[in-house]
Symmetry: C2
Subunit: 211 residues, 2 copies
Amino acid sequence: MKIAILLYDKFTALDAVGPYEILSRLPGAELCFVGLEKGPVRSDTGRLAITADASLDETPSAELLLIPGGPGDEAACAEQRILDWVQRIHEGSKWTASVCTGALILAAAGILDGVQATTHWARYARLEELGAKAKAERVVRQGKIITAAGVSAGIDMALELAAAECGEDVAKMLQLGIEYDPHPPFDCGSPDKAPAALAEMVRASMRANRA
Amino acid sequence: MKIAILLYDKFTALDAVGPYEILSRLPGAELCFVGLEKGPVRSDTGRLAITADASLDETPSAELLLIPGGPGDEAACAEQRILDWVQRIHEGSKWTASVCTGALILAAAGILDGVQATTHWARYARLEELGAKAKAERVVRQGKIITAAGVSAGIDMALELAAAECGEDVAKMLQLGIEYDPHPPFDCGSPDKAPAALAEMVRASMRANRA
């Protein structure tokens, strides 16, 4: 299965690398990181760069398209070459997936009109503005479109995709391989579990990063 | 805080990027990916490259050293320049950390002699051979040395480090920011929860990847 993961300036690295760690190990997978141009693409912190091994123009199709989120999402939504490419790949894809605010890019490309989808909890309103029906769930699947909540949710989504595509045994083996038996030290990973003040600090930090 | 994450040929990307996503956002953090030489370093699948923004020689010290694992661990353990660098950085570090089989590299550098540590569940015996006291726990801390189990455990470890270094509120805010409220689709992320046949398949796959 040909898998394309989009990279763009100021993406969030774990959005891409969490699913990559699962999907690249599916039997028969040919995964490629794709950017506007070939070469290193910097993440939102400026401290990490992943190489785009192909340009958009070199990637005419993919069976699985995955769009990560990040504070560069709005700039990506304003880049017509990205929107055109996302539309084109989606037309022929078997699966179209996003993590975190990658859903906003799918929506800006017109793919989520009236579609149930999720994104980072702080960005539901923006997802609705762009025409999707935002759902506060960790992973939302409607037809071939599958969207994950914020950042780390991409790992859960990728395991669901692995099971749907290759069966539960493959997914379970991959989960065991990455020893994904999570034990977060705190129980505050979603806004309904965290103090309101913390959630407001995260919102403010995300606004500052987008500015 | 100056943070150095080592990259080497055939590292496992999520081992590095999980902790990076937390640690790079600590107040005052200056995180750098470090390789034998500057430039892109390929992960174990061959499908991803992260840029080393500094060489070992350009990195004389760090307050937090983090070593990821991966099937390239044995080759890294045989590279004297890496072992010398790890020893040197560890001498002056505030924290020395590993994820997955990154612990084997710490052990090969002589840092884990008689020290309680963990690694990927399939590699406890190798960790013991190299002089450490292997513990089947998700995160093990002894003094300034903190080691995490396989791959995804680095996220849990980084949140513990965040709390130890900057307080629980900062750690909780970062956890909420990456929406780390994990919902794995299966409960088979550790060998005591998974069928023995699956565990043997993972072991075989890891042996093949190292060969």
